[in-house]
Each structure stands twice: as C-alpha cells, then as structure tokens.
Amino acid sequence: MSNLLLVLIVVLVAAAAVALVVIGYRLAIARRSQSALLAPPETKTPINAQEVEPDPDQAIISPPVELKEGGTDTGLDSKEELEEALRAEATRAEATKAEATKAEATKAEPLRLRDRLGRTRAAFAGALAGVSGRSSMDDEAWESLEEALISADVGVSTATRLVEAVRASAKAAKIKDGSEVEGLLRREIALLLSPADRTLQMAVSGPTVWMFVGVNGVGKTTTIAKLATREGAAGRHVVLAAADTFRAAAAEQLGIWAERSGATLVRGDEGADPGSVVFNAMASANSRGADLVLVDTAGRLHTKVNLMEELKKLRRIVDKTPDSLTEVILVLDATTGQNGLTQAREFAAAVEVTGVALTKLDGTAKGGIVLAIQSELGIPVKIVGVGEGPEDLIPFDPEEFAAALFGE
C-alpha cells in the first residue's frame, strides 16, 4: 500500500516540478535572449538561440516497444544482391584467411597474453620507471603506484585498497626497494584474481548453451565467431543463434562467420522476436544432436529496463531445456571504464552472468575494471580477445594480467 502512496507522490512531484520548470525555463529564455541582444558582440547570439530552442523531434522519446519495430525493411533490394554481397564478403574472407595462415606459419607458437601485451608494456614502462628504480618509497612513490593502477581503469577504491595492503605488508617485511614493492603489488593483484574456475563448462548431456550478453559494440559477435571457430576445429557441432535481430546486418555478420567456421546458423528476419530465434536454435540443436549452441544477443545498455527484460526472457527460453545453459558470458571491452562494474552488476542481476570475456586487450587499454568485477561480484574473466582473427582468443592468466597492469 505504501508503494501506491509513493507512486502518487512521485507522479505529482514530477508533474509539478516539470510544470514549474518549464515555465521558469521559458521565462529564463526570454530574459536570456533579451540580455543576449544587449550583450557585447563577442557572445554569439545565434548559437545561444539555437541552443535554447531545441529541435522538438530530437527530444522525442518513442515508447520502448517501437524500438524493435519498423525494421521489416531488410535494406537489400533483392535476393541476388544479398548473395552478391555475401559472395564479396566470402572473397574477402578468403583473403583474410590466407593472410591469417601466413601469419600463423611465421608464428608457430600458440599465442599467449604476454606476447600480445608486449606493446602495452612498452608504452607503459615510462610511467612506472620512477617506482621500480627507487631504493626507498616515499608518499609520492606510493601515490604514483596508485595512479598507475587508476590509469589502468582499476578504479579508485580498488586501487587505494590494493596500495594500502601492499604498503602495510611492505612495512611489516621492511621492504623499501621500489621493484620489490612492485612485485608485492603484482602478487597481491594475482591473488585477488586467482581463486576462480576459468573453464567454459559443458553440459553433462545434450546440447550445451553459452549465451553472450553485453552493451553495444563490445565485440559479442566477434567473440562468438572466434569460439565457433575454435570449438568447430575441436570437432564439435556448433549452432550459432543470431538473436541480435535489432542491429542492421548483425545476422549477416554472424552468417559470414558461420560459413567460415562451418557452424550452423539459425536466424530470423530483422526486427523478428529474438525469443523465436533462440527457440528455433534450441529446437534445431536438439533435433540435430548439436554439441554447442552459441547465442548472440543484441547489444543493450544495462539501463534499458525493457531490453533487460527481453534478455531474461531469452534465458527462460533456453532454460526450458534443463541444464543446457552452462555459461552466460558478459562481453566487456578493455577500454571500458568504471561503468564496467555497473554493467556487470546489472547483467548479473538479470541473467546470472558466469564469466567475463575481455575483448580488445591488444590495444593499450588494460581492462583493470575486471579486478573490481571479480573482487566485488565474484565473476571471473574466462576468455580474452586480442585481435580480429578467428584464433585470437587466449586463456586468462592472472599473473600475466597483473604484470601487464604495470607494464613490467
């Protein structure tokens, strides 16, 4: 009952405030444009005027349901054209593949995090040289250590906590040397990340389902493509469920990867209900006796309630085949800042995330936010993406990750 009252008050306060604000604002505009006319010429009146009179259709928010509709137009004029486009892609794919094989031939060893992070380390070494070369640690040195962590997107609270812990243990062990302190900190970070199972689980029987979720543009489709290639090469029958029916050409993108990796693609039309795609993919996997279903979902900001509800629904559809869903992977871009923790929290609350795929770690970004994600939410990193090739997928190693945070 009290909730009802709260709603009532909230609505009225909002309505009243909105009404008053609009009126007050109108008055302010009137005053502002008057004074703008009187103001000296260097204040740019036209820009002001443009700023305060926003284009009405820019501010309209359409009701959420409509977001997913109106997408019946596939945009491709005819079937031939689509085929032509896909052929062109295939040609390109061949070229990429050839290059990839060439690259592989020159570099026979399997990729490791350390190899890929070489550039990162070089770029970062300068920032820390001051600490590792020191024979004693003063406040400034400790501060620069903390700043190095913050620069790696570890976040202020985690960075402070780590540095304080190391400071205490350094004091206890009477360690003063900068490089030893750094070693301590590295161990502390690795420890924070260590106790975790990072294997991608398979179902005991029947098809296994791994679902991929995350905000827009983090690399969900690319990560799935890499996994499809890897698991396909390991002899597994993989089904790709193109449940991103929102982004234009998302299913085409996945289709190209399906073709390259020999996986089966299940898709719907653009704007179709993603639930139906997942349903069909499950049916197809069950009837064909497939080993693995990788579900690609549309990128969504964790703040969009309706889209998060849609995600829950997708999970419920998968859960109709009991015990098949073994992994819900949150794909996270290494360049993501502090918002990454909020993302993880929200997605975990909605669909019980089991692990993180950290992508784009081949740049100079460190992805330090995964420290906070594991220490606060207990969600470990399970996959690391370091490039665009199908084999650029490597296991996560806490020691190496910790070293990379400091550029070693």
């Binding site: 009532l8 008050i9 909105v18 609009v22 062109a88 827009n216 690399g219 800042g337 100079t364």
Partner: protein, 444 residues
C-alpha cells in the same frame, strides 16, 4: 558510491558551517573529493591533476558570495571550470564552400561509427542537406550491409564497393567523389573501419583514406563508457590523421562520461554531437553544460526540460501550474499529468534527472504497474466524482473498487493522499516550503 558531488561535500560543509571563507585545509579536503568524483567518472588521471590545481587556485582566492553557501560556491567553480574545459558553446560542423563537405568518422572497434554515420546523415538531411554515406569499412564482416540497411531506412544513398571493383577503403573513398557528383550530393559521410590506435597497418590505411577524401571535418567517435584509455586514443588519432571534433556515443547509459572531458582536455577539439539512444533519431548537438552536470552527477535538468517540452506544451504547463496554485487541481488533471509524465519515460528516470529531489525519493523503486492501478481507480469514477471527490460515499467507494479491481482501502488511500498532495501543491506554489506527508523528505 556517492550519488553526486554535492552529496560528498555535505559532510565537509556541515563541519565548517558558519564560516564565510574556506581555509586552505578545507580546500585541500574538497580538492580530494573532487579528484575522487572525477576519477570515478573516468576522467583521465593527468587531466584530473591539472583540473584540480586550477580549481584550487580559483577557490583559494575566491570570496564566498553572500548568496551562496561555501558548498554551492565550490560546486559553481567546479561546474564553470568543467564547462570551460568542455567548450563553452555548441559547435557546428564546418561546411566546405566548395561542395562536397566531407565528414570522416574514425575510432576504435565498437565505438559506434556506423550507427553515428547514419544518425548524422539523418540529422543533416533533416536540415536540408543532401548527404551521401560512404561505406569504407571493409574490415568487419557485414559492416557494408549494415550501412546499406541503415541508409535505406533513412532514405540516404550509400556508396559501397560492388563486386568486381577493388575491395579496399582507399579506392572506395576515391570513387565516392564521382558518386557524390553524379547524385548531386553536397555532404559525404565516410564510415571507416574500427581500429586500435596502435595497429600501424590500419592506421596507415586511415591516413591514406584521409589523404584522398581530405575531410572538412575529421571526427573521432568515442564511446561514453571509455575509461582512462580515452586520452591515448584521442592523442594517437589526432597525431595520425588530425581531428576536428568528436562524436560521443552511447550517453544514454549511466556512465558519467568523463572520457569527454579527457578527450577535450588533451586534444583541444570540441565534442560536436552525442548519440543518445538506439533509434536513428537519437542524435543531438553536444551541450557542454549538460555534460558538466552529468560528470558531476548533478541531475540533468536541461535534458529533462527537453523531454518535458516534447511531452507538454508551454500552454499545458501554464494551465496546470495555474490549477495547482489555485487548488483546483482535480483528479482529471491528475490523470492527465500522469499520462504526460509517463510519456517522458519511466518515472524513476525522471526523478533521477530532477535536481534537488531528496535521496529517499530518488532511490525509490517506482513500480510502474502501480501507476496502472491508480489510473484504473480514477477511471472507474464518474466525471462528477473526479471533479469533486467529496461526493464519494461508501457505496460509490465500493463501486469504484469493484470497477477498478482494487479494494476500498486502496480507493480510500488514494483519495486521502490526493487531498494531502493537493494542499501541498497549493502551499508550494505560494512559495512556502512544502511539508511532505512522508517524514524525512524535505524538498530543497
């Protein structure tokens, strides 16, 4: 996590209440809080350092204005500095006197270039220009298709490499000019492949494309959720191809967007547009003052106003205000208001945007389905009852409850609450401090 900078300051300022001037120690303490707030908003460490030293300088010398509390004074200084750093006016694209004007978009993978290209094309088209989209992203599978689909949706032609023609970005860029001339297009928007700033081969390709298209506006597309890395990205792209401005995408999330400040501070180029949502219309010019408020977590009043203006007309608002003041606010008006407010999005979001709303209300989970119940109750009343709820007696009450599928208790509660709120409205508009019926909820 602190909700806003003003919330952080509260603790400091209650301790030093009564003093008119800030001591050096106060300022140091405040500076630490500002630093924390900015770092949590993902502003780059080095940018924060510079910023703090400027704030300290201004705060130390500043007389505390009579009308402001020290807290307000400091926040004002911080806000002003933020706005100044972000750029004080809204910047527009540069138009080439000799068409076509070329806009080249670049950035990391997944920053939102393709979507931004289409959104920009739609915006320019609505301003009477004739854009041509150029699909120069030949790296990501189906990127060309994505742009073509979007182009079709907004009815803007898309130039792309057909089968048989050379499949590389430089050639596409070169041939695009002929296509623009053929179709009489005066703006070319070039969508390039996403690339990491340290990928030399792809950066060289980008430089080659730039040399061909000679962009009038070279825009970097940056994700609002980007962390400390934003600085490295911006500097590297600026050094490689030269930037004229920035498009900040995905600001409809809850990231504070400190990246905007970092980028502006290190490359000095303005943020021109922001991407604000999933649909192609969700694209706006950048407003530095709003971004400043957002980085500080201060409630985005201006965006609220825009939303309000889309849902209400000024006349509506005036009429409502009039009614509230005179105490003639009926249940009909309330129903009307509720529908208007709902048009602006989830109530919870609106409350978050309102400044000065107490935490208790801001954090309250507002169950939207409850709104439906309220609506059902009111709709089950006759016109007369809505106008004058005092006629509602016992039998009417149970009729209303039955009609709306609720209980008489709920109907009672609604009526009682409505009466209280009605009085509150009246006193609020008379300039008195309203007394809310829930304890501990003063409104500033």
């Amino acid at each position: 996590m602190f909700d806003s900078l003003s919330g952080r300051f509260d603790a400091i300022f209650t301790r030093m209440r009564g003093r008119g001037r800030l001591s050096d120690a106060d300022i140091d303490e405040i500076a630490r809080e500002i630093r924390l707030a900015l770092l949590e908003a993902d502003v780059n460490v080095r940018v924060v350092k510079d910023f703090i030293s400027r704030i300290k300088e201004r705060a130390t010398g500043a007389e505390v204005a009579k009308s402001l509390t020290p807290a307000q004074q400091v926040i004002k200084i911080v806000h002003e500095e933020l706005v100044a750093t972000l750029g004080s006016t809204t910047v527009k694209l540069t138009m080439n006197p000799k068409p076509p004007t070329v806009v080249m978009l670049s950035g990391l993978q997944g920053s939102g270039k393709t979507t931004a290209a289409a959104k920009l094309a739609r915006l320019l088209k609505s301003q009477g220009l004739q854009p041509l989209l150029v699909a120069a992203d030949l790296q990501r599978p189906a990127a060309v298709e994505q742009l073509r689909v979007l182009g079709k949706r907004i009815d803007v032609p898309v130039f792309y490499a057909k089968e048989g023609s050379p499949q590389n970005a430089v050639d596409v860029a070169r041939s695009a000019f002929d296509e623009a001339a053929r179709l009489g297009r005066n703006v070319m928007i070039v969508d390039t492949a996403g690339r990491l700033q340290i990928d030399e081969a792809l950066m060289d390709e980008l430089i080659a494309v730039r040399d061909i298209v000679k962009p009038t506006n070279s825009l970097l597309v940056v994700d609002a959720m980007t962390g400390q890395e934003a600085v490295n990205i911006a500097v590297a792209f600026d050094q490689a191809i030269g930037l004229d401005g920035v498009i900040l995408t995905k600001i409809d999330g809850d990231a504070r967007g400190g990246a905007a400040l970092s980028v502006k501070a290190v490359v000095g180029k303005p943020i021109i547009y922001v991407g604000t949502g999933e649909t192609l219309e969700d694209f706006e010019p950048f407003h530095p003052d709003r971004m400043a408020s957002r980085i500080l977590g201060m409630g985005d009043v201006l965006s609220l106003i825009e939303k309000a203006e889309a849902a209400f007309t000024a006349e509506d608002a005036q009429a409502t205000e009039e009614k509230m003041r005179s105490g003639q606010f009926t249940l009909d008006d309330f129903l009307d208001q509720m529908q208007q407010v709902r048009k602006m999005g989830p109530i919870g979001n609106i409350m978050k945007m309102l400044p000065g709303v107490p935490k208790e209300l801001k954090g309250a989970e507002v169950d939207e389905s409850q709104l439906g119940r309220v609506e059902a109750i009111i709709r089950s009343m006759t016109a007369e009852e809505r106008r004058d709820p005092s006629v509602i007696n016992g039998s009417r009450r149970s009729r209303i409850a039955k009609g709306s599928g609720t209980s008489t208790q709920e109907v009672n509660a609604l009526l009682k609450q409505f009466k209280t709120v009605q009085q509150m409205m009246k006193s609020m508009s008379q300039g008195k401090k309203p007394r809310l019926p829930i304890p501990g909820m003063p409104i500033r």
